[in-house]
Symmetry: C2
Subunit: 192 residues, 2 copies
DNA sequence: ACTAAAAACAAATGTCATTCGTTTTTTGTG
DNA sequence: CACAAAAAACGAATGACATTTGTTTTTAGT
């Protein structure tokens, strides 16, 4: 019954660790309580709900992913930056697959939180795209294209959807990103 | 207590209807039991588990999606077929978003089931790609590229991840598919 | 040392999925 | 038509979960 010195931040930290360790789906209030040696009901002295905890973990994961991306693209531009951010994105998802799940499972209800996260996620991508000389409108479209390719690839890869054929997945990803690179170059030259 | 004339097929059908009506997440044994006017425990006379039911619904959804795709590409080839299948894919996902979720939430554990579903999904896509004159290896890569773009786009769109900027989403999708089309043409001409 | 806030607890509620044993209904055979 | 066996329903129970409430313990500030 001795106090554990808990607070909101520590619980979020513990949630991140626990989620990485046991998996996004195995995460629960009961598991978290066990992890911090406390009764499940005691958690509510520090946090409002499981939903809120999932959101906070997702936000923290976004920060880490964005940080990794920014480091990857530092000092680079155009195709070099594009491949760097694409690789960093995939590396993060593979290394922290459970955190990546937390990001992609954001509740649609939390509109303002989602808005904030979306802004952070788009930021380094727009930075890369800015070196291609696109119109403002095209930047918006191509930002979506790149995010679609990256997430779609990782989602399939992680779900085992690419296991049917034995082709090298790294090479598939390279081809996908090169495809976007070529499209960006063409768009940058003003081709429609 | 009068019998309801239930069986495995009818329960799967009911599950599909219920899932489309109430949503993938709201689906439960309790809801299904209510829907077919039976005690929850009675369901186990016909099916093994909720997991198995989710899998069956997912498989049924794959069949419907593939059917829609095949109709869309009938008699078409190259870019026309590509855009047709891409639009059919997105249309299906938007019209039956809860079924689409069921497809994308396949359990990784069910390896043979996943294998079967994967084969079905890839089939119409390979049919489209076959008109581009790719090598067998390239077909495998580009099949992955196209699936990544389509699913990634829908996942983001459906999660509200494309709401941050007011750009037209239809146009973003068109650009994404055109990007793949251009890549396919180049690959078909033997460019590396 | 004492008071008040903070943090822990136990117990309870209302969800689930699933299992078990029992009762009811139907089916098929004599 | 009767009767036995199979099939399908049920209720009750188990153990998981999130969350609420009321109570007790611990700590911090005075």
């Amino acid at each position: 019954m001795a106090r554990q010195g808990l607070n909101r931040e520590k619980l979020i930290e513990a949630s991140i660790s626990l989620m990485e360790e046991k998996g996004y789906n195995a995460f629960s209030m009961a598991e978290l309580a066990k992890y911090v040696h406390v009764n499940p009901s005691s958690l509510y002295n520090h946090i409002e709900s499981l939903d809120m905890l999932n959101t906070e973990v997702g936000l923290a994961a976004v920060e880490r992913m964005v940080e990794a991306e920014k480091q990857a693209i530092a000092g680079k531009s155009q195709d070099e930056a594009l491949f760097a951010i694409a690789d960093a994105y995939r590396d993060f998802a593979k290394t922290h697959i459970e955190l990546y799940r937390a990001v992609m499972n954001f509740q649609k209800t939390q509109n303002q939180v989602l808005e904030k996260a979306a802004g952070r996620i788009v930021d380094p991508i727009l930075q890369v795209l800015s070196s291609y000389g696109l119109s403002r409108g095209d930047q918006m479209h191509w930002q979506r294209v790149l995010r679609s390719v990256m997430h779609g690839f990782i989602a399939h890869e992680e779900a085992g959807g690419f296991s049917h054929f034995p082709a090298d997945r790294d090479e598939s990803y390279r081809i996908a990103i090169q495809c976007v690179a070529d499209g960006l170059c063409a768009a940058g030259r003003g081709e429609k």
